[in-house]
């Protein structure tokens, strides 16, 4: 009940009809694609886009709704991945997961930019002093997100994979142990150490906590 997965086309050459590209291609699997991507094969960027842009754009639309911000995040994710492909390694996890991680950064960056713009526009508003501090909580979290996503990048495996499953896939520690095969006690101690590390980062560099 699906389309041909490999989208095999009828001919061995490309025809720019705008309707089908008639190339006989055997689509690479994800690992092969990741290697080619890292090695700078331009076709791999196009295939990666074909394969994962829908999910990344879906993620960006969830954050911003359809529109320029979601499109910008999607394109910036692929541009950053391509220009930073030398930083991708097998230890970075599967290529799509790496792309999702970049996409999170881009989403957080847009939030932070919006927040700066909002502050600036409020600063020029005459009534800024009379406003209640209702945004302070939100401001803090926007800044924290950018900071902590950067901290996640510094984590090695399996710590990073474990905390991402907890944060982004909403798995319990029992589910994480089952999914990864890592013993329950190890999962718990990794979670504890990672949360401590994030707390430390916030205490050192984070936005000022409201009293």
């Amino acid at each position: 009940m699906t389309a041909l997965e490999d989208r095999t086309d009828l001919y061995g050459h490309h025809v720019e009809t705008g309707r089908t590209s008639l190339r006989r291609v055997t689509e690479p699997d994800d690992d092969d694609l990741a290697r080619r991507f890292r090695d700078g094969d331009e076709q791999a960027l196009a295939v990666a886009y074909e394969r994962w842009s829908g999910q990344l754009y879906g993620m960006a639309v969830r954050a911003f709704g359809p529109g320029p911000d979601a499109e910008d995040v999607t394109q910036q994710t692929f541009i950053a991945a391509w220009t930073g492909r030398a930083g991708y390694s097998a230890g970075s996890g599967p290529l799509p997961a790496w792309l999702v991680g970049i996409c999170r950064h881009k989403i957080a960056d847009v939030w932070a930019k919006r927040d700066r713009q909002r502050r600036q526009s409020e600063a020029v508003a005459a009534d800024v002093a009379s406003r209640p501090g209702s945004h302070d909580d939100v401001d803090t979290r926007v800044a924290d997100r950018v900071l902590l996503l950067g901290e996640l990048d510094q984590l090695g495996q399996p710590q990073r994979g474990i905390i991402e499953l907890a944060f982004f896939e909403d798995l319990t520690h029992v589910q994480i142990a089952a999914r990864t095969g890592i013993p329950l006690g190890t999962v718990k101690s990794h979670i504890r150490r990672t949360l401590e590390r994030l707390r430390t980062r916030l205490e050192v560099d984070g936005a000022a906590l409201q009293p």
Binding site: M1, T2, A3, L4, R7, T8, D9, L10, Y11, G12, H13, V15, E16, T17, G18, R19, T20, S21, L22, E42, L45, A46, V47, Y49, E50, S53, G54, Q55, L56, G58, M59, V61, R62, P66, E71, T74, Q75, F78, I79, W82, V100, R104, I107, R141, D144, R145, L148, L152, F167, F168, E169, H173, K188, I191, R192, L195, E196, L198, R199, R201
Partner: protein, 247 residues
């Protein structure tokens, strides 16, 4: 007083349920409670719905790829990326390489002729009203597939193999743009496209075409709908608009 373990406090920060003993202690102990609050600030910053793993796939508009290609200088193109049909000069030159398989050499695509069809289809545009033709709902469905658009096409549909009294037919419901000239044709293909069986002309809406007796659908499971120009050439134009694999 026995405090909660550091691991349990971390799980509490993640809002995992605690044992009754730990939960009762946490409710009463200011130190443990403060610890959970401190750990939770990082959780709340990151475990945020918009950052969760992607669940929904949406197709970005073509300009997103255009921007990526412009920024990276990459000349490769995703398979589904539409190429504007308004630049016919771009298809008049490069010489096609030989087809890789001798058995499909006769399927040399007729590119320039196709362009006229594509341009006509683009002019008509949109999805025309579906015209019900010769639908035959009788017989038993023995295999079926959805027909998914290929690449930028907005053609889609369903295909069902029906069998009645030992005779098989393919029922194709096709939703596709009107063609200014040319016609749609349905084929059965091998998955690797090393062979194909023409089944006949189909229209928008419901169609029934007979299947050749003895044809093994296991060998030819792929239902392919192509656009054929009115040029008297019975071979596949090379321009497929929708496909599905029978199962």
């Amino acid at each position: 007083m026995q405090h909660c373990s550091p691991e349990q406090l971390a799980l509490a920060a993640l809002r995992e349920p605690l044992s009754a003993t730990d939960a009762a202690h946490l409710a009463d102990c200011a130190a443990c409670h403060a610890e959970v609050s401190a750990l939770r600030r990082g959780v709340d910053a990151l475990a945020f719905p918009a950052l969760a793993a992607p669940t929904t796939s949406l197709t970005p508009p073509p300009r997103v790829w255009d921007a990526i290609a412009a920024a990276t200088g990459v000349s490769a193109t995703p398979a589904s990326h539409p190429t504007p049909v308004s630049h016919p000069t771009s298809v008049s030159h490069p010489t096609p390489e030989p087809a890789p398989l001798a058995t499909v050499t006769r399927l040399q695509p007729r590119r320039n002729r196709w362009m006229a069809v594509a341009a006509a289809a683009a002019l008509v545009g949109g999805v025309a009203g579906v015209v019900a033709l010769t639908r035959d709902g009788s017989g038993q469905v023995v295999a079926a597939t959805t027909l998914d658009p290929l690449d930028a096409d907005d053609s889609s549909g369903t295909a069902e193999v029906r069998e009645r009294d030992g005779v098989r037919s393919l029922q194709v419901d096709l939703e596709a743009p009107s063609l200014g000239e040319g016609y749609y044709e349905v084929w059965l293909l091998r998955p690797d496209v090393t062979g194909l069986v023409p089944l006949g002309v189909v229209h928008q809406g419901a169609n029934v075409v007979p299947l050749p007796a003895g044809l093994d659908l296991g060998d030819y499971p792929v239902v392919d709908v192509s656009v054929e120009p009115l040029d008297g050439d019975p071979s596949h134009s090379g321009v497929s608009v929708a496909r599905g694999s029978l199962s």
